[in-house]
């Protein structure tokens, strides 16, 4: 079979065709009913092939389209077969007559394949979101509108927000899927088909969000506050739907991670003997599993209010616009920890390897992840200090918010104590780990000033928040994610990336990020509002904005260097050693790339994971081959 044919018949292409067909069928079905009843189009109508289509038909079409994608891609096939009583074995390996690489373009149930699918999609979506940012960042470099309209600007920054969140969620999925089974000695995730579903349902959701930009865009930011969202163009509806569909991915993959960790650990691996990343993955999954429903409700209420006129949030009919904010932030604050906990887990995972020292205070770090997850549920209303809620709540949430600093501080101090007297070496993964600590530190120390209400009254919705948030996301996720990509690249591909390009990437990105972060914070203090397409000349913002834009361009180029490094190294670099980092972790004791079922013989945990410097100790012992019974 030719390459082109394999690509054209891949699950991605079939899925997209299925989504298009499903969407049109859904729209046509509802429009036919509306036509038969003689109803005139309502909501933000859209001209499709010369007819005005009602918004409710669009919503219905979009949902049918997602089902169309999943059916055509083959995600639901096994479940359909079960319904009619057919048994279906788990199919491993490439389909008969197709090359190995075609697995990555089709529905596959192996956790490593799914992890890589997550990872590549995450990087692609990251590039899309990054391009959006660069486009409007150039617009912001000078006062006055240069090359965008207000509408384009608003749509771009809104899309940047949600596209990056989608990218980060995919990245979290990449790390947890690829690493958790390997680290705990399992052959796969507990529910492989559900695992595939979690990934594949994310793809049409991203398509919906991007399609929203083409049907009017939206000007609400990624938060989609009512009542603005209720009167924004049709694009906001597809954004709400895409966001909502993405929730299925989060919930399903969280169940998988929790069950896998709870039930499939290797012999001897007690909870406090798990690699620390697994703790982070479980803590993040607990949040995803319990909080995503709330934002789902908020989004569905908005979708319904727009499409069929149910009145939840618009005060005109008795709705409550603040209610939306509570529901939204009850998820959207904790979800920040879904992003950063796996990132912080990577930092804790890599530090011992590159300092040749045990992780300082393992239990404290593990429990601080749970602590952050717990406190994270009690602070959502700090996003609403100026929203007009009762004053008593401002005091309450000020205190709960400040307490996030405690478990976060434990992590910082434990990392620093791990570095202390450590025999540090500075390969690219370690550089990015140290970069992550410095950037997450910027995010951390810029937080309490937003937590105390009096200072927040000035900084709320200013560029300080933009700086704080980006430092938290980059330090808590992007930098550790990049560290993880470099660190496990030899595990994934069997080859070593180019160290010189990795270092270049680091030395461009870290200074770039520091300039961008501090620049944004400085603008916020001086009075620059967030989410504005334009600002007046003469406020003293110009020089800083030019610096921030230049820094953003440097960051953008440096990420492209990484992408180039990964693509070219996979073809040209020499084979990597089995355990290039001299790690004790189980995944490095087997060949790279890891075999289909990970461990040919099960291993037993006989020591602590990070006992570097302790003579004669190992973390795991491969069990002897079974003795013939």
């Amino acid at each position: 079979m030719g390459k082109l044919r394999i690509i054209l018949t891949s699950a991605y292409v079939r899925g997209l065709i299925g989504q298009l067909v499903g969407t049109l069928l859904g729209i046509g079905f509802l429009e036919a009913i509306r036509g038969a009843m003689g109803l005139s189009p309502t909501g933000a109508t859209f001209n499709l092939f010369g007819t005005e289509v009602a918004e409710s038909s669009f919503v219905f079409g979009a949902i049918i389209g997602v089902i169309g994608f999943l059916s055509a891609a083959g995600v639901l096939t096994d479940w359909f077969k079960w319904m009619i009583g057919l048994k279906t074995p788990l199919n491993h390996g490439a389909p008969a007559g197709k090359p190995e690489w075609s697995r990555y373009l089709n529905v596959d149930v192996n956790h490593k394949v799914i992890g890589i699918q997550y990872g590549i999609t995450s990087i692609l979506v990251l590039l899309v979101g990054g391009i959006f940012a660069i486009i409007f960042r150039i617009e912001l470099a000078q006062p006055g509108m240069q090359w965008l309209t207000n509408d384009q600007y608003n749509t771009l920054f809104s899309a940047h927000g949600i596209v990056m969140i989608a990218s980060i969620l995919l990245g979290v999925g990449a790390m947890t899927n690829y690493l958790v089974p390997l680290m705990i000695g399992a052959s796969d995730m507990a529910f492989p088909r559900l695992n595939a579903f979690s990934y594949w349902v994310g793809v049409p959701s991203v398509v919906l969000i991007l399609a929203g930009m083409a049907v009017g865009g939206w000007d609400t930011g990624w938060v989609g506050y009512a009542p603005l969202s209720l009167r924004a163009p049709l694009g906001v509806q597809l954004f709400l739907l895409g966001f909502w569909i993405n929730g299925f991915s989060s919930i399903a993959s969280a169940i998988n991670v929790i069950v896998t960790t709870a039930t499939m650990r290797a012999k001897g691996m007690t909870w406090f003997r798990m690699p620390i990343f697994v703790w982070a993955a479980v803590a993040a999954s607990l949040i995803q599993f319990t909080a995503t429903q709330t934002v789902g409700v908020a989004l569905m209420m908005s979708i319904a209010e727009r499409a069929i006129g149910l009145n939840f949030f618009s005060p005109v009919g008795g709705g409550n616009p603040i209610l939306y904010q509570h529901l939204f932030w009850f998820y959207s604050h904790p979800v920040v920890y879904v992003f950063v906990l796996p990132g912080l887990g990577v930092i804790s995972e890599l530090l011992p390897v590159f300092t040749r020292k045990p992780l300082f205070g393992y239990k404290w770090i593990a429990l601080s992840s749970l602590g952050i997850a717990l406190v994270g549920f009690l602070v959502w209303a700090h996003h609403m200090f100026t929203a007009g809620m009762a004053d008593s709540l401002r005091y309450l949430f000020m205190f709960t918010t400040m307490f996030v600093a405690i478990p976060t501080g434990v992590k910082f101090f434990s990392w620093v104590a791990t570095l202390w007297e450590g025999k540090m070496s500075f390969e690219t993964p370690m550089l990015f780990t140290l970069g992550a600590i410095s950037v997450f530190l910027i995010g951390g120390i810029s937080g309490p000033i937003l937590g105390t209400v009096p200072t927040d009254l000035h900084l709320h919705d200013s560029y300080w928040v933009v700086g704080h948030f980006h430092a938290t996301m980059f330090g808590g996720f992007i930098f550790p994610f990049f560290a993880a990509l470099y660190y496990w690249y030899p595990k994934i591909t069997g080859r070593m990336y180019k160290e010189s390009l990795g270092r270049l990437h680091f030395w461009l990105m870290v200074p770039g990020f520091w300039v961008m972060s501090f620049g944004q914070m400085s603008l916020g203090i001086a009075g620059m509002r967030r989410r504005i397409a334009d600002y007046e000349a003469g406020l003293g913002f110009e020089a800083t904005h030019i610096l921030v834009t230049m820094a953003a361009l440097v960051i953008g180029w440096s990420v492209l260097i990484m992408v180039y490094n990964f693509i070219s190294s996979a073809r040209t670099q020499e084979k990597a050693a089995t355990n290039p980092w001299r790690s004790r972790s189980p995944e490095w004791q087997i060949p790279s790339p890891a075999p289909e079922f990970n461990y040919d013989v099960p291993f037993e945990v006989v020591g602590d994971p990070y006992d570097y410097g302790l003579d004669e100790s190992t973390y795991i012992q491969m069990a002897p081959a079974p003795a013939g019974d």
Partner: protein, 357 residues
């Protein structure tokens, strides 16, 4: 020294770095705007406290990271592991408990300051603030309901702003006053400000509110007593609605003091987001559905009451709020109640349009 050598060096470096960051880096980098309100005094003190904390924490962690990286790093050829140190419970407890005190301290400081910012003071002046896409208007109930598109304040006079919105969320922020409060449709929120410095500032909408959020600004003037009295007198003696001509009223409705049509419709012929009103009356316009209409009384009335129905080609369908009919009815009823005259705002606007040639 011996065993404590590293700790002493690090402690000295942390102190020096903290001072350096505070005065040489973050000091110049984090410049608050001019402080022009009494609320700003306690808030800025708190900012100062936070900036010290930021400098210290950044110094503490970064010095330890850099020091470890430089002093303890792996020497070339050394393949051995570092010291086998698992942890230290006493240390863990210290760096959990000490931050608890810091956090509670800042929390109490914040709480006391916040209470002060929220508490009413005697002799407050009330000003009603209304946000709408994309303009602010201000009403002075204690001054015969003066209606103004600029916020005029009396220096050292505490005011309580009663904020509301006629469409979506907005947020009232004058950076020089430091404090901020959202305007929420369907409810009233409050914000207290005592301006302390005469001068000109701007209200800047801080909550994304749609297309022209960036330009949702309103002028603020803080005046001395004599100037303020003169301004208020002039505004109170302004002609009543019933005494104005329809054209004059139309111009008022058009402005930000009225219904803020000027936010989108220009009168100089430029058309950014919506058709300009210059010479619009009697003109032929092509609509998005391809038909042509003459801009007459009926078309204008229809376009105001149902803005989505007949869109001029080249413009967005969704920009204009659909509730001007309700807003006009409310205003007409209010004028009828206070002055006993019946006016028709749409007729006023049409009359005003006819003057724009």
């Amino acid at each position: 020294m011996g065993k404590y050598k590293h700790f002493i060096i690090v402690a000295v470096l942390v102190v020096l770095t903290t001072l350096g960051l505070k005065f040489l880096v973050f000091g110049p980098m984090f410049q608050l705007p001019v402080q022009a309100s009494e609320q700003g005094v306690s808030i800025d003190t708190m900012f100062e406290g936070h900036f010290w904390m930021i400098s210290f924490l950044f110094a503490l962690i970064m010095v330890l990271v850099f020091y470890s990286a430089v002093v303890f790093r792996r020497k070339p050829g050394d393949e051995t592991d570092g010291p086998h140190v698992h942890g230290n419970t006493a240390l863990e407890i210290i760096w959990t408990v000490v931050p608890v005190f810091a956090v509670v301290g800042f929390g109490i400081w914040g709480g006391v300051t916040l209470k002060q910012l929220l508490s009413p003071v005697p002799d407050e002046m009330t000003i009603k603030v209304t946000g709408r896409q994309w303009a602010w208007s201000f009403q002075y109930p204690e001054y015969e309901d003066i209606n103004s598109a600029e916020l005029v304040l009396l220096k050292d006079q505490p005011v309580v702003l009663e904020l509301s919105s006629s469409d979506v969320l907005h947020s009232f922020w004058v950076p020089e006053f430091r404090v901020k409060q959202d305007a929420v449709p369907g409810r009233t929120t409050t914000l207290r400000i005592t301006p302390t410095m005469a001068g000109e500032y701007k209200v800047r909408c801080a909550e994304i509110c749609g297309f022209d959020h960036a330009n949702m600004l309103a002028p603020v003037r803080v005046l001395e007593q004599a100037e303020f009295t003169a301004w208020a007198d002039e505004r109170m003696n302004a002609p009543k609605f019933g005494e104005m001509t329809p054209e004059e009223r139309g111009a008022l409705w058009y402005s930000n003091e009225g219904f803020a049509c000027e936010g989108c419709h220009t009168i100089d012929g430029t058309a950014a987001t919506a058709p300009s009103w210059l010479s619009v009356y009697g003109r032929s316009e092509q609509l998005t559905d391809g038909t042509t209409v003459t801009v007459d009384d009926a078309y204008i009335r229809q376009s105001i009451l149902d803005p989505q129905s007949q869109i001029v080609a080249g413009f967005e369908a969704v920009q204009m709020p659909a509730d001007f009919g309700d807003q006009f009815s409310a205003k007409q009823a209010e004028i009828a109640a206070t002055e006993g005259v019946e006016i028709d705002i749409i007729n006023d606007i049409i009359a005003y349009m006819q003057t724009l040639k």
